[in-house]
Assembly symmetry: C2
Homo-oligomer: 326 residues x 2
């Protein structure tokens, strides 16, 4: 296995473009300077982030003659849509921290968090429309639909133990893959990439999104609070059954600590026990194996693309998503 890489190294090949993305995101906050409270909120959330999704838009645009401006706009739109959904997610979960920083809802309250999320949707939509591509606009609205639908599915499935692996897969495809697909597809469509390659990048985004989310769901059990920037075991305590929990339920159908916790018996103790069992049972390895199989599918999807530094970076990213710790 290659030496462990980080996202920053992988994205070096698109650093100039990412710099433009950062500059223009700062301008978005600045454009609201006559409304200082909003400008302050925007400054707070628009700084930072790993920028995986904007980088995906940009890298996906490099297999054809790309026109700069719409690509940068779309890279920003993708990040803003992502942020809007995180702001609403945190508001819903009443989460205090994300990546170690206080969430918008903990800093400004629920009301402002809901409205800031709506505002970010609108700015993302405006940037998407500015690309002049109706196909990309449709991709954008369909992505928002998939994400909110996936989150609704998750919300209605909370504390329910009868969900299948295919329910789980459908949910993570909607809430996570859809945005990866929007990134890779919009980047390639806006640069007039031949349709066969657009499809390949679409599929890459789809499989990468699944791998990414499975690893996210693993890290929720195995990560430290410091690495995650939020408490370990958040998913289970909110009633969200992810892949590792699903496997534990399948292996130990009787007296399963998750079942007991959801029935209200010694909740904290049983949830801790569930996490310990998941870690000691080999389930984590199995989940990583599944995540890795999707990452490999993603790298296979790239076969149809010509070799260049961007393809190498996209390949490297398939390894990174499985190895990452945060």
């Amino acid at each position: 296995m290659a030496t462990r890489s980080n996202a920053e190294d992988i994205f070096k090949c698109v650093n100039n473009d990412l710099e433009k993305v950062r500059e223009r995101m700062a301008q978005i906050a600045d454009s609201e300077r006559d409304f200082p409270e909003l400008s302050g909120m925007l400054c707070y959330i628009l700084s930072g982030g790993k920028f995986i999704r904007p980088a995906l838009v940009i890298m996906s645009s490099k297999f054809s003659s790309s026109s700069d401006e719409p690509i940068i706009s779309m890279a920003i739109a993708t990040e803003l849509l992502h942020m809007a959904t995180l702001v609403h997610d945190d508001a819903i979960d009443k989460a205090d921290k994300r990546h170690g920083h206080p969430t918008v809802n903990s800093q400004w309250g629920l009301e402002k968090a809901i409205l800031l999320g709506d505002y970010l949707f609108s700015v993302a939509g405006t940037l998407t429309a500015s690309t002049g591509s109706l196909r990309v606009v449709r991709l954008f609205t369909n992505t928002l639909k998939a994400i909110s639908r996936g989150e609704l599915k998750q919300s209605f499935a909370a504390f329910q133990l009868d969900k299948s692996y295919s329910d789980y897969l459908e949910r993570i495809v909607q809430k996570t893959s859809s945005l990866f697909v929007m990134a890779t597809e919009s980047g390639s469509v806006l640069s007039q990439t031949p349709e066969e390659m657009v499809q390949a990048l679409h599929d890459y985004g789809y499989n990468m999104g699944i791998a990414y989310q499975i690893v996210d769901d693993i890290l929720d059990f195995t990560g430290t609070e410091e690495e995650l920037g939020k408490p370990t075991g958040s998913d289970l305590s909110q009633g969200t059954i992810t892949l590792p929990a699903m496997m534990l339920l399948e292996r130990y159908p009787k007296n399963n600590p998750i079942k007991l916790a959801f029935q209200g018996y010694e909740i904290a103790d049983n949830l801790r026990k569930a996490t310990e069992m998941i870690i000691s049972s080999g389930i984590i390895d199995e989940c990583y194996h599944i995540a890795d199989s999707y990452a490999q599918k993603a790298s296979k999807n790239l076969d149809k693309l010509p070799d260049n530094i961007y393809k190498s970076a996209l390949l490297e990213l398939t390894r990174f998503v499985v190895q990452r710790k945060e």
Copy 2:
């Protein structure tokens, strides 16, 4: 003054089109039948409503050769965007009832209300994109931006007594007029109406929106709980200073019951006293006078349109918005 009319009578001239809107809205709920919980929520909120905004889209499309399908889609998109913002508003205000029916948040909880709002944004956006007009897509995203920005302004201004009439006007233009403008402008743009008439209908929507919101703010003080379908005096109790309250603050700068309530003194008593003073002081008449002046501006905007049954209906609507009781 003409006999009091109701919205249904005024919209008779576009009844066939509104019927299509209703049918297609029912289909939206039905399209999610493989996700019964979501389908149930959609059924719940997509039935009912005065349909003022869809009617505005349709009536505004009748001054030129209209192409049916995009107009109906846009009429639905406008209503869904309106509903999405109401669902989020009610979630923010923790409102129990709207138009006499339990709100989404009181029926399904805050989490589902936030996500349903997001879902409705996406369906509205998809319908807007289906019109094939990038201009209308931009209008849509700018409208969402204006609404969320106006709501954020209102939220940050809560319990603040130093706001001016122009702050109030800016806020209601953003949160209410913007959607009326989206309705009239999109209807006329999609039917290839000459630009001068598009502008006239834009201005009509702008002024109608202001009149509509001022009357809304009046009714919050003068309406009965039965008429409003929610408690009287909701605005003040949430710290929102609307036109009538602003006038009371200006007339009685000393020992004003609103000031006292916001400082925490005998809140319920002082808020009731404020409402009584607003009603007995002639402020309500003055507010109606202002609302009426905007309604008259709106009817004046129609001078540039040819006479027909749709123009008559739009004129009638300017009287209705000022006379309505709910």
